[in-house]
């Protein structure tokens, strides 16, 4: 699990990180990592709010002090992890964690989380918490052609909207700037709600197109990535389509999500 956390950090700048990870861990951990990195994340076992309260209980931290801590961290998964006491015993591997979470039920979730937490340092428990809450997101590694036919997901922010259609332009964060990655139709059931938000948050109009603050996050399914130097982002998504509006939370959580895409 500790190596997986290092892998997540290394993937931001090192395309060979996954290959190196494979040499460092057993096959079970590698398979688990590959699954997570290609968007096959576990279902939500428990909410981040619940995790935070369980961790506060372990640490004997009262509610008001938990709130003060959360205000500083801004991230529920991190707040929960940082409150926990230092680990004891051998740290768990990624496959062990994923397996334990997959077997857990709402009834056993509390005991399972306490058991996992006790064996891992804070930086690993941040990731454990995101996995348990179904909020684990992976950054797009260095764009390289990947085999088509397999569906991948990424998360991008909406920057432009053409209400007729409607069609939206999505962007990824690169070096603090939202770089457009493509225009695609918006066909989600939440379209009326999203368009109401667009009307209330329009920064400017360019003909039929409205510019909005980069705040709404969408999940995009795509068939593969290819390099395209004519695009500012440098990548071309194969057959992209918007599959979900990621609305599970506050600006803080969106920040986390965007942070995970801060660099390719």
């Amino acid at each position: 699990m500790i190596r997986f956390v290092a892998l997540l950090a290394a993937l931001q700048h090192d395309p060979d990180a996954l290959a190196r990870y494979q040499t460092e861990v057993g096959p079970a951990d590698f398979v688990a990592a590959e699954a997570l990195l290609t968007g096959r994340r576990p279902r939500r076992l428990v909410t981040l709010d619940t995790l935070m309260h369980w961790a506060a209980e372990v640490a004997a931290v009262p509610d008001w002090l938990l709130a003060a801590s959360m205000e500083v961290s801004g991230d529920r998964a991190e707040t929960a992890a940082l409150l926990l006491p230092p680990p004891v015993g051998e740290p768990l591997g990624l496959a062990e964690v994923v397996d334990a979470l997959a077997r857990a039920t709402p009834v056993t979730a509390h005991a399972v989380m306490l058991r996992l937490w006790a064996r891992l340092p804070a930086m690993a428990n941040v990731v454990v918490n995101r996995l348990a809450a179904g909020s684990f997101r992976t950054a797009v590694p260095k764009p390289r052609p990947v085999p088509t036919g397999e569906v991948h997901h990424l998360y991008a922010v909406m920057v432009l909207v053409q209400p007729a259609g409607p069609e939206v332009t999505l962007a990824l964060w690169q070096g603090g700037v939202a770089v457009p990655i493509g225009r695609m139709p918006l066909t989600l059931p939440e379209v009326p709600e999203i368009m109401a938000w667009v009307r209330g948050n329009t920064l400017g109009k360019f003909g039929p197109v409205r510019q909005v603050p980069p705040e709404l996050v969408f999940q995009v399914a795509y068939a593969g990535l290819t390099e395209n130097r004519r695009r500012k982002s440098g990548i071309e998504l194969g057959a992209p389509r918007i599959t979900a509006w990621v609305r599970d939370g506050t600006a803080g959580q969106l920040d986390d999500l965007i942070a995970s895409h801060a660099e390719r």
Binding site: L65, A122, A262
Partner: protein, 330 residues
């Protein structure tokens, strides 16, 4: 003579004039007519350590530890200053003062003030875990403890120093193997020297001039520091570790280094929001973490505790729930 009238109040016939009061210029001792770490020019300043937010310019006289004095002189130039040994008692206007190790940076001290048997201690900045460089924190029994709380929230818990130093060494070794210079951001006094004294060496250490000059001062005092070389004086080997203040990392200064990896060592690196956009991040602080603050407060035996510098409101409230008579400096 101190203005006793202004400070004296009577309650049931008993003097309740506090040993220390909180003024606009800083913590003040009316009976001794001196300030501790004052932020504005005063006649007599007792200074806990040489960081610029504690040792200000412009005081008529300075009193600090012998060990802190060289760096304070180096930074402030011509000042009228006197040093005392750790634990050495001085009497100032009927008040006894002494300096005790705070474990924050070389020469750093807590200041103990005793008047007629009542003892107050001002912590200055402190770190409970010992490191390889500075005088180790020593708890001082007192009735009233004025404590910093830079990291006064339960989300701040440090790993043992050795663990973090080993992480930094591994990062340095990997960079060296891959031909990248390692550049570590650290404040030029304290953190920089703690790192060079503590990290298992993977190559030579090169320094920014601001780091090098303070390092030379500390080395002359006898602190055990490895050899260092100011950047620019000799070619920079690829296996070098460059230690530099954070503010120079975005400018021209690093532009000639070639391939490099930048790391940051600070307690704030515990937070994702602070790590964002930075390179390698190492959680290493010269301040006490949450367990450290709580242990330090307990070990003084104090009944009254004032919080300063940091998350003062939650920390004060927490201390109150722990049974202390708690307040905030200010």
């Amino acid at each position: 003579m101190p203005d006793v009238r202004a400070q004296l109040r009577y309650l049931g016939g008993m003097s309740v004039e506090p040993v220390l009061t909180f003024t606009k210029k800083g913590i003040y001792c009316p009976a001794g007519d001196f300030y501790i770490d004052p932020t504005q020019a005063v006649d007599r300043a007792l200074v806990t350590h040489g960081h610029s937010d504690h040792a200000y310019r412009g005081h008529k006289t300075y009193l600090c530890t012998d060990a802190a004095l060289p760096v304070i002189r180096h930074r402030l130039g011509r000042i009228t200053a006197e040093g005392v040994g750790y634990g050495e008692a001085r009497t100032i206007g009927g008040v006894q003062v002494s300096f005790h190790p705070a474990g924050h940076v070389p020469g750093s001290a807590q200041i103990r003030v005793e008047r007629a048997g009542e003892v107050w201690v001002v912590s200055g900045d402190y770190k409970v875990e010992a490191d390889r460089l500075c005088e180790a924190f020593a708890p001082v029994a007192c009735h009233t403890f004025i404590t910093e709380c830079t990291f006064g929230l339960p989300i701040f818990q440090w790993q043992p120093e050795a663990t973090v130093l080993a992480e930094i060494a591994a990062w340095w070794a990997r960079n060296a193997a891959e031909g990248r210079v390692s550049v570590l951001a650290a404040y030029s006094f304290g953190k920089a020297q703690r790192l060079m004294a503590g990290i298992p060496l993977q190559g030579p250490i090169h320094t920014h001039p601001a780091v090098e000059s303070v390092t030379a001062v500390l080395r002359a005092q006898g602190y055990a520091l490895p050899p260092t070389c100011e950047v620019g004086l000799t070619p920079l080997p690829r296996d070098a570790l460059v230690i530099a203040p954070p503010n120079v990392l975005n400018g021209d200064w690093v532009s000639t280094f070639g391939p490099m990896s930048v790391g940051f060592a600070s307690g704030w690196m515990a937070l994702g929001v602070r790590r964002r956009g930075l390179g390698a991040a190492f959680v290493l602080s010269d301040h006490a973490d949450w367990p450290g603050l709580n242990a330090a407060v307990r070990s003084t035996g104090a009944e009254r505790v004032y919080a300063t510098h940091g998350y003062v409101r939650p920390f004060r409230q927490w201390l109150e729930t722990q049974g202390y008579d708690a307040g905030i400096v200010g």
